[in-house]
Symmetry: C2
Subunit: 210 residues, 2 copies
């Protein structure tokens, strides 16, 4: 089980898809694999975990990010790494926003300090501490996007109900299409150039005097 | 120009390649692009900058890592992100070590704290502060590997002479084939499983009581 402290606090969340093999039984036993980076679900509506998100496109990492001025009480630091499926990334470079079937993964890892010859700062530990996914699936979700939480990186993801803090925070503050592109250093300039920044984000930027 | 403070200190370094277009003039004007993730050099021996390393495989990020107990005197924090060309990554998964023509990129970015709705921790700024590359090119370099430093992410890389601290530190402490796999959370278990950890690293691990 993952500790469940970071989702509401960090909320950059997103994840992951799966290698959904579609077996065509007739006239032969040919197996067609679905594109490995499209979202796939169980009959119950759970999201299958992405098998190969570490080979997707890396967007950014943060450490101990929080949107609350209150101390989160953690006695250790955590890195969060964000990945997106390659098709969605290429679409963003062209349009400044996200295609349908975008899948974003938030992978949380312990920030270690002492290890090997490192004596200062932090590096990333081997264990995944939390794992969350943000999926754009326009035909499936009324708000086009949904968040899924995972108990492990092997199990399926549970749909977080609309109305949870992650949805309202992303809707209110995200720079592009309910995603925190303001924290993705290679994509923010694209959104600026394409004019796809949200009105609420532009208003926040103005009020910050930027 | 980049500040040149991190290479010796962090030394995870590696880099980058380039889209070297080979124009075949006869019998037609067909253009063949070389594989975009293989190392390419100028006639002077400079390394061409990698055009698309952000679409390579992400290995890890650190923040303010240092191998010296002395304070580095920086008044700001820095993230370092490490990428490797996809062919090398796939080779590592199979063998636990690096193929010839491995190219590793170290990209350094400012760690920002206040921005948008973030109030704690750090996220990555838009500007690349430093950029370094570690290349395995067995026929070209006597020690098989070489480090290149870059003044910007657009210019060519300058070969760092053998004997510089990065070479001796990597040779003495790196977990696999002069690279700091001990800081790459998804690859360290592979090296363990394949038995490719260096004797010096294993000795250090033993002496740390791990």
């Amino acid at each position: 089980m993952f500790p469940r402290t970071l989702f509401a606090a960090i909320g950059i969340g997103v994840l992951a898809v799966a290698v959904a093999a579609i077996v065509v039984a007739r006239p032969s036993t040919t197996v067609h694999a679905a594109a490995p980076s499209l979202p796939a679900y169980t009959p119950k509506g759970e999201l299958l975990p992405p098998a190969n998100y570490r080979e997707w496109i890396y967007l950014t990492s943060g450490i101990d990010m929080s949107y609350s001025p209150k101390d989160n009480g953690m006695d250790h630091s955590m890195f969060d790494n964000v990945f997106v499926n390659p098709e969605a990334y290429q679409g963003f470079l062209k349009t400044g926003t996200w295609l349908d079937k975008t899948v974003m993964v938030l992978e949380v890892r312990e920030a270690k300090s002492k290890g090997s010859i490192n004596v200062r700062g932090h590096f990333q530990g081997a264990g995944v501490m939390d794992f969350e996914v943000h999926v754009k699936d326009e035909a499936r979700f009324p708000g086009k996007w949904a968040f899924f939480s995972f108990d492990s990186d092997k199990g399926n993801g549970t749909l977080i109900p609309t109305g949870a803090p992650c949805y309202t925070c992303h809707a209110a503050h995200a720079a592009v299409d309910t995603t925190f592109v303001q924290f993705y250093p290679t994509l923010l300039p694209v959104a600026h150039a394409k004019g796809t920044l949200s009105p609420s984000f532009l208003k926040e930027e103005m009020s910050d005097g930027k």
